[in-house]
């Protein structure tokens, strides 16, 4: 990855890189995206803080232990972690300059993401059918908002990656499409890391509390 970033910085393939006194646009965008991720991370941090404050406020309603099912959230975890791995494989294919392999692994990534979302939506619907909606208690409000925000991010990420795949098939691997694959990949891994915390803070500790 570091090598790639280096390549992108000094890649002499496009016309812009030959000009003196002009900034490396793709490098600027990578840095900007890191800062964006920092703000997004803080949004999740605030939602986690809210969840931790409110998770015992069940108001006589169902607790996490009563709701969560190991099979469901383990499947979600498995799907999302695998999608992060395939997203990494896609980047490797890009390093080799293989557009087909790159698009292929991105398709797998998106399919796994869709699988994850399918299970999550099923889980939410199940809870709602049992009467555990977000208006039932503060705990459930915090739960649905925290997990749902992550799910919304995954949804946006999927559309984004689909858009990049179309661009890749039209334009191949250029400095610009490379940077786009890198930023969307970062975003996808970031969502994976957030899920690891969700898994720990919400589901695992919910099961034992």
């Amino acid at each position: 990855m570091a090598q790639l970033a280096h390549d992108m910085k000094h890649g002499g393939h496009d016309a812009h890189a030959h000009d003196h006194g002009h900034h490396d646009q793709e490098g600027l965008k990578m840095l900007g995206f890191w800062f964006f991720l920092a703000t997004d991370l803080l949004i999740f941090a605030c939602l986690f803080a809210t969840y931790i404050v409110l998770r015992t406020h069940v108001d006589g309603g169902p607790t996490g232990k009563e709701l969560f099912e190991v099979k469901g959230f383990m499947t979600e975890t498995f799907l999302l972690l695998t999608s992060s791995f395939t997203s990494g494989l896609a980047t490797l294919e890009m390093r080799k300059g293989n557009v087909k392999g790159l698009i292929g692994w991105l398709i797998v990534t998106v399919l796994l993401g869709m699988g994850f979302l399918g299970f999550e939506i099923t889980e939410f619907v199940q809870y709602a059918m049992d009467g555990a909606t977000m208006s039932r208690s503060a705990f459930l409000s915090a739960f649905f908002t925290l997990v749902g925000t992550h799910g919304a991010h995954v949804t946006v990420g999927m559309f984004w990656i689909i858009g990049i795949m179309i661009q890749l098939s039209r334009r191949g691997i250029t400095d610009v499409t490379q940077r786009k694959v890198m930023t969307s990949g970062l975003y996808w891994h970031f969502l994976d890391v957030v899920w690891v915390f969700l898994f720990t803070v919400v589901y695992l500790s919910g099961m034992v509390m």
Binding site: H22, F35, A45, C46, L47, M134, S137, Q167
Partner: protein, 654 residues
């Protein structure tokens, strides 16, 4: 027919003659603008030069105009409140109307006046000061502006359509929850700040990358001009603070439209959670608006004392330490929550600690002036007025930070006087200093001195007359947000004095507007590009700067780069180096930022009234714009050498 009548009577705000007056004036002004644009065939000009621009200088000017309009709106709110409070038992405003006005006054002044004013300064100055041709992400910069603009429009629409928010600019639950605030007013508050907040976060990222990555060759971080340093520190704070506000507002909105229980009194909700999240943003926010002002004072003091800034390194350290400590003070806004002695002690001490780096800065400014050749220009006047004003405001701030004593001052007029003193005496004076200082750089002429002095003295005397009595009123037991009081309280004389002060400031503002209009025609023209004898790079180029700012990117050797260059040029035997011009890479204009913001407005307006048929298309429109932009590859162009040469020689620079 009846259902239409029914709808219209709740949709439009009715019953108050002042609102009808506002309705009429809004319609008249809109018609006048439409007439002007059509009559003089200005639509194309408006679209090409302003609505689609990605030029940081033009975006800065638009921020400035919007901020001054919002200052007017917020100022009118202030005057209305002061009229109501001028004497006991006044019947000028109804209690509901008073609640709405103090809410919009605070919201507008912080989020739709102070924020765009600092962003105006960022945009106008930073790229010029660091020797760059634009910001890192010009397209995103336009998105930021239009999001701010549409957010501001949404909030300002509330007082004629649907009703204004009325639970204070801090919008504490449970008051701001359903059941206590049922109308669309609170939704307006939440959505307008959310929309403009996305823009603010993007601006933070944009200028952070700009300053980190786009400084001219040779400009090491520790050679960067102090204003740009202050913007750097501010941007880091924006990055860390705004997400907390976003979350607080979204959760409250989910409570209101989704029936959730984050901050309600029932269902296990906890209102204090909102208050914590709000101030985790809110306290850093006051440093976000004051740090750029500190940066401006540093530039102004150094230029007009004809000395280099005293204690540059300590200035940088002070900025950075304020931006860090600023995140550990938020609980001082609600010591009365009862978090316990240990928690309150921590936040009290952190708050007091902020006074140390701030004090360092004040002494550095004073030492810069010491034995300097001071010229009392308008920017310098505002800077000189700032120092005592901010010293008093800071001292009363330290008084408020003493947790046990705060139980007495909390939410009294003492607090009101304190934060107006640091926000007006600090932020507003600072931005005015910057406005006068960089005005010639923006528009190519100086603002008239005589009118400026009138405005300066009216503002300053008005300020003390208005707010000094409020400290005393606080000690006498007058609390914030009350709309009426009796004769028996003994508050009448001081309130009357305070109202007179508010009017003096209002007149000061009118004189300032007159000064601008007068100077457009009669102001002293700046033909040199360096009217003040400046020290930093923005003064090395013509006023106003050409589209590409620098024909050739300068190479920086020291802190006061332009000052050193001038010294070098004055050396005997100095030979002017030939200017070497290459094609200049520039971003293309785009209409997408404007359309995207329009979709935000449509979505936001729909969400205010919970009209999903309107909110969802708005949301889809936003994503469609994002997608359309992602598929655009032809986003920049080159200005050919001949064109740059022609521009430069027309400006007398070749």
């Amino acid at each position: 027919m009846d259902s239409i009548k029914q709808f219209a009577s709740t949709f439009f705000v009715t019953g108050d003659p002042m609102i009808y007056g506002a309705d009429v004036s809004i319609v008249l002004v809109s018609v006048a603008i439409l007439f002007y644009l059509t009559k003089f065939k200005k639509w194309g000009w408006l679209w090409r030069e302003w609505l689609t621009t990605v030029d940081h200088k033009k975006i800065g000017i638009m921020y400035l105009i919007a901020a001054l309009l919002m200052l007017f709106r917020g100022g009118v709110d202030a005057i209305l409140m002061r009229i109501q409070l001028a004497a006991p038992n006044m019947k000028f405003l109804e209690s509901q109307h008073y609640n709405e006005i103090f809410t919009t006054h605070g919201t507008i002044m912080i989020l739709f006046m102070a924020m765009p004013l600092i962003f105006a300064m960022f945009n106008i100055v930073v790229p010029l000061q660091i020797g760059a041709r634009d910001v890192a992400f010009p397209f995103l910069n336009a998105v930021s502006f239009w999001l701010f603009f549409m957010g501001a429009m949404l909030l300002n629409l509330s007082f004629v359509i649907g009703g204004s928010p009325d639970s204070g600019w801090t919008s504490y639950p449970p008051l701001s929850e359903l059941g206590f605030s049922n109308g669309p007013g609170e939704n307006y508050y939440l959505l307008s700040i959310l929309i403009s907040g996305i823009g603010s976060t993007a601006t933070g990222i944009n200028f952070l990358v700009t300053i980190l990555k786009m400084r001219a060759p040779g400009m090491k971080l520790m050679k960067t001009p102090m204003f740009s340093w202050s913007v750097l520190a501010t941007c880091i704070m924006i990055l860390y603070a705004f997400p907390a506000l976003t979350v607080a507002l979204i959760l409250l909105f989910i409570d209101r439209i989704g029936g959730a229980h984050f901050f309600t009194l029932t269902g296990g909700g906890n209102p204090m959670m909102f208050i914590n999240l709000f101030w985790i943003w809110g306290h850093p926010e006051v440093y976000i608006v004051i740090l750029p002002a500190f940066g401006i004072f540093s530039e102004v003091v150094s230029t007009f004392s004809k000395k280099r800034l005293f204690g540059y390194t300590s200035m940088v350290l002070a900025l950075v330490s304020i931006s860090i400590i600023g995140f550990f003070t938020w609980v001082h806004h609600f010591f009365t929550m009862g978090a316990g002695a240990d928690v309150n002690a921590f936040f009290a001490i952190a708050t007091m600690a902020v006074a140390i780096p701030t004090g360092v800065k004040v002494f550095n400014w004073l030492f810069t002036m010491f034995r300097g050749r001071i010229s009392l220009t308008q920017p310098m006047l505002w800077t000189l007025a700032f120092i005592p004003c901010f010293a008093i405001g800071g001292a009363t701030g330290v008084m408020l930070s003493v947790a046990p004593a705060d139980y007495q001052y909390h939410n009294s007029y003492f607090l009101i006087a304190h934060f107006h003193q640091v926000l007006i005496g600090g932020v507003v004076f600072g931005m005015f200093a910057g406005l006068y200082y960089w005005w010639p750089k923006m528009f190519g002429f100086k603002l008239n001195d005589r009118l400026g002095k009138w405005s300066f003295w009216l503002w300053n005397i008005g300020f003390y007359v208005c707010f000094m009595p409020q400290y005393a009123l606080g000690f006498m037991g007058m609390t914030r947000r009350i709309y009426v009081y009796g004769w028996d309280r003994g508050w009448a004389p001081l309130n009357m004095v305070s109202t007179i002060g508010a009017f003096l400031m209002g007149i000061g503002f009118i004189v300032m507007v007159w000064q601008i209009i007068y100077s457009i025609k009669h102001g002293e023209r700046d033909t040199t590009g360096d009217p003040w004898g400046g020290r930093t790079l923005e003064w090395s180029i013509p006023s106003p700067a050409p589209l590409y700012n620098f024909a050739e990117i300068p190479v920086v050797k020291s802190r006061d780069a332009w000052f050193e260059m001038k010294e070098e040029m004055a050396q005997p035997g100095y030979q002017k180096k030939p200017v070497h011009i290459e094609p200049i890479h520039m971003p293309k204009n785009s209409g997408i930022p404007f359309f995207m913001a329009v979709f935000f407005f449509i979505g936001g307006f729909g969400a205010v009234f919970e009209w999903y048929w309107m909110a969802i298309p708005g949301l889809i429109g936003i994503f469609a714009c994002l997608f359309a932009r992602s598929f655009q590859y032809d986003t920049d162009y080159y200005i050919p050498v001949e064109e740059v040469e022609a521009t430069e020689s027309a400006l007398g620079r070749l």
